[in-house]
Symmetry: C3
Subunit: 452 residues, 3 copies
């Protein structure tokens, strides 16, 4: 029905994209499959297509199923605006607001997800194909998926602050190759982007915020990258999570609160977490879990301070301050040249009276920790009705603060043969010197340095 | 007047985009506002729009005022070509040139800016909206803003070499959220991009050159990123400037001359300047000013050499060589793993006879400086009529040079309790050892290392 | 013939884009040149154009010649799928495959390249223009160039595994400025992207795999960037190559096997190779050759392990294990904070019985090597019929392995006055201590550290 492979959801004759864009896109995919049947016409025959969503509000009531390679779904705007701030504005003030909802090329995710235990049923876009080859080069570009509302979770939290609703933006269930997710916006989804079995995946330059979980790479995978994104999950979930990946490059991301973790790697090897800006309100910012080994964690900026916004004041991820901002369960990792700022109220430290831990080598062997710098300050925690101003104030308020005692590196007895250099004073590095090599950061020497 | 939210300036019935694209875009924005009035239609109602500029020369005589969220202005080409080189070619040779001006989807910025002291009046695009929420998700993508000409500045410089003309490309005056500037070209503007009060801003993959100032983040802001840009300001201005920002990530930029600074941060905290390639013709390349604290400056490549191009030969930013290539006024910053190349004519050093300074800790406390490497060479400064070849020659001419004495780290008395490791020999690190911890980079030892 | 400067190859009246898209694009370029003749109309006149390729299979039988600035050629999909895997599937199984070929906006590169020694004759896109100014702002975006087949190379290898066919995707022959290559896919080309004499070039976010060579910057150039790409060349070629460049920024790339090298720099100065993830099956991963000096190689993750896929099992780049994973011929380079994983079968090491070398300073002076960490393991090499699963298995199989003796840094006698810090034990750093400064990574000390 199309003369070439460019489709616009607003001109497609089947369905109404404003009432159910899922029906429209599925109809377009059926058209592509009907037209592109040649297995090998003259060395080609199945080029795929692009489906365009102009800026607009497109309700989705039918799940889109993608089972063809080379499909690009593209909009003209990531459309983020904070729903969280607005839901926490008294409703009588809403009439004075310029706009209430996200925009751009926006999917209003309104699936009746039901009570299924199968998370994929709650996905706006499900990518799934059996057989060979793996589905390849599906691209999501420059549009917005909005989950609209969160749901009560049984706690005292207002429904819109729970970060749960059973909704997923994009769920990739099958092994896949060379996918791209670029320039997208995700908001108010319990899972923004859950991708299983990825090879050479690129998640680049997206805006993923106010979602329960932002990026989850599951199953296993290799040679992928998560780069240059603005990301911030809810307090229950992951901002960036990967399991059993090798050769993953996580770089140049700006990860803001309030994720339970900023980067959580489980069984991930030979990967990089470099050059990111990470900000959290809780311990456990970067976790190398389940034997995550031979990874490089370098030149990241870690900031942990307190939740400043009244609606979430007092909520945390349940971890104590001796958990570490960076926690390592694995071997042969390299932890180099990171900056850590810890800005907390000493009254709030758990367990009370202990020194917060910055880097913890919990389990494993052979890790090298070098040239890490910790700035720790004691501040009085306060909260504000205004989310944005409160955060900026907290970020900039670095001057009128007191120093705070910390353990910069804690090596537990289950982790041995590690090397810790220039990452804290003798007192700040707590490690068994008979099983680990330690060179404390030099202090001021009142006598001249010998021997030059 | 539009059936959906996609507009093309060349087909819009109001105005003539080639005579005044400002009038056309303002008319389109009025149309969007007139059509999108629903505050909350079925969880939607104000998706915004995209305004497309095909490649073409669009004169702008009326300022565009953007006061709606979710507006994307998009072209199909950043269109840079060097106007500076061409203006310095004798005019009798112009007839032999393939083309004279930038191109792509190009705004010819021709506002009568007047003599107003209000810089925003000289902006091609002014973004401004009072009230709540903050204006969100405005995007500028893939087009060119060309200021056309510079103006006499009262000096002996030809008008086209002054870098002043009162023109700004994009001026964002109000607090804003989740803006994107991607793939743009900016040229011959006194201010390319001046953004106040930014939250979660992304300035990514742009080409900003031959402008007085390139990127200026003003007022205050947080959680933003300046990534992957090609940038080079004029000798009077900033390539990248930010004030009172927290959590800013400046990474993967290639910043070339001749900005008065490459990166200038004022009152910026808990931010990252990592992994950039920085090239300047003057001292004062990276400045952490006004109490900029807890920042990470890591794995950057700094090159300072001499202006090689005749039209600007002898011009500089007024700073002496003891200012430092990197200058720090603040606390608890981390300066790790940077490479510095200083390639200057020893005859030109100011004050004469002094050793140029690479890293200066001017004021503050608690900074950690580790693992920085300086290559300093004495060369004879020369200039060339050809800009490009001269620069390439200078860049590659690393071999037939002499070593040069430098102070790799100078800690002034107003900065204390710093730690300086492996960043120069005992003689190259000038610091009071009773108030700072210093470990010099080891030299060659003629006796065996003890104790392994 | 066009009312504005937007062209679609499928609606252009001259030629048939499915039979020969080269003829169509050349006809469009002729139209642009015919229409845009004004040298200086009202400060404009030659804005260029965009040529759009919707998703589709476009055979190219005529070389495209680009000799105008501000031309963007744009598709809607990079269209990668592995041809290499499919060519190594028995042909009787092809009928069960979902698709056989790459897709997206796909050029089927079918030039009769002939036997010419002039490599540029085999290019799908040739960019070439003499005179001034340099050709500027040509952009290639979001489409696929597929070389279709490789050719017999005289060896026992099947033709489709040779990585040679005389075909190039894009060949830029003339000095150029501000080019962009973004979002492209390149496959089954002997040379994907060969660019001579580049200034301020951006190669960003592309997918370049299963090509003989991926990115080659030749001649000379400056101030360019190669960022955020997924790259993997064939065993005979370069993944990233540059010669005589200054100020090149190579960052945030994920470079996978099987290139003969991951990054090869020849005569490159004052450039950065930072923050990349590099994976190879052979020694010689990063080579700084021919006096490459004053470069920064920092926070990269290097992994060298064995070829796991049966069709290429036993093939390598001919280098012995004493070549170094990183080899430096030049002066004053900075090698900081890299992680190296070497996972090889000790039985396979060449020369037999030697310790593999990680970093070799082969020639030059004044290099600084600090804070590098090596994890070396002895595994039994095995191969698998399945490419993807084999790689993932190998990547993740880090646990059941034995340690392996390595030389972490070898300083040859032709390289002097280097500084090697914290990059291996006394025994692992092989260097003449009378001509180089060495501080070994501290080992475990059984007595207390003195003097804090």
């Amino acid at each position: 029905m199309s003369s070439n492979n460019y489709y616009d959801v607003t001109t497609w004759p089947v369905g109404n994209p404003f009432e159910d864009v899922g029906e429209v896109i599925n109809s377009i995919i059926a058209d592509i499959k009907q037209r592109q049947t040649a297995a090998d016409v003259n060395d080609g025959g199945k080029p795929g297509a692009v489906i365009y969503l102009p800026p607009g509000d497109y309700r989705l009531r039918t799940q889109v199923l993608i089972d063809i390679s080379f499909l690009r779904i593209q909009g003209s705007g990531h459309g983020f605006t904070s729903s969280s701030i607005r839901f926490n504005v008294p409703q009588e003030e809403w009439s004075g607001l310029h706009e209430l909802w996200p925009g751009g090329s926006r999917i209003l995710m309104d699936l009746a997800a039901g009570d299924s235990a199968d998370e994929s049923e709650g996905a706006a876009f499900l990518v799934k194909r059996e057989g060979s080859p793996r589905i390849s080069s599906v691209e999501f570009t420059d549009f917005c998926i909005d989950g609209l509302h969160f749901s009560p979770d049984g706690s005292a939290l207002p429904a819109e602050n729970t970060y749960v609703n059973g909704k997923t933006g994009i769920h990739v269930a099958s092994a896949n190759d060379s996918f791209r997710v670029n320039g997208m916006g995700f908001i108010y989804l319990e899972h923004a982007l859950a991708i299983h079995k990825a090879d050479a995946l690129s998640i680049h330059d997206n805006f993923i915020a106010e979602c329960g979980n932002c990026i989850e790479l599951r199953g296993w995978g290799q040679a992928s990258k998560i780069t240059n994104n603005l990301i911030g999950a809810g307090f229950k979930g992951h901002s960036i999570y990967a399991e059993n990946h090798g050769g993953l490059l996580i770089t140049a991301n700006n990860v803001f609160p309030r994720g339970a973790s900023s980067v959580h790697l489980s069984g991930v090897t030979r990967s990089s977490v470099t050059n990111n800006r990470l900000h959290s309100f809780y311990p456990g910012m970067v976790i190398l879990a389940e034997g995550s080994s031979e990874n490089l964690v370098a030149t990241n900026h870690f900031l942990r301070d307190h939740e400043p916004w009244t609606p979430f004041f007092g909520i945390d991820n349940g971890l104590d301050d001796d958990f570490g901002l960076l926690s390592v369960h694995g071997n042969d990792n390299s932890i180099f040249a990171n900056h850590f700022s810890l800005i907390v109220d000493s009254e709030s430290i758990r367990p009370s009276g202990t020194a917060p831990v910055i880097i913890k080598l919990a389990e494993g062997a052979g890790n090298m920790v070098s040239t890490n710098h910790v700035a720790a300050k004691d501040v009085q925690a306060t909260s504000s009705e205004s989310c944005f101003e409160a955060q900026v104030d907290a970020l900039l308020a670095s001057r009128a603060t007191e120093g705070l005692q910390v353990t910069t590196v804690l090596v537990e007895s289950a982790s041995v043969h590690n090397t810790v250099l220039d990452s804290g004073s003798e007192a700040q590095v707590v490690a068994d010197r008979t099983t680990n090599a330690v060179r404390a950061t030099p202090g001021i020497q009142l006598t001249a340095t010998p021997g030059m």
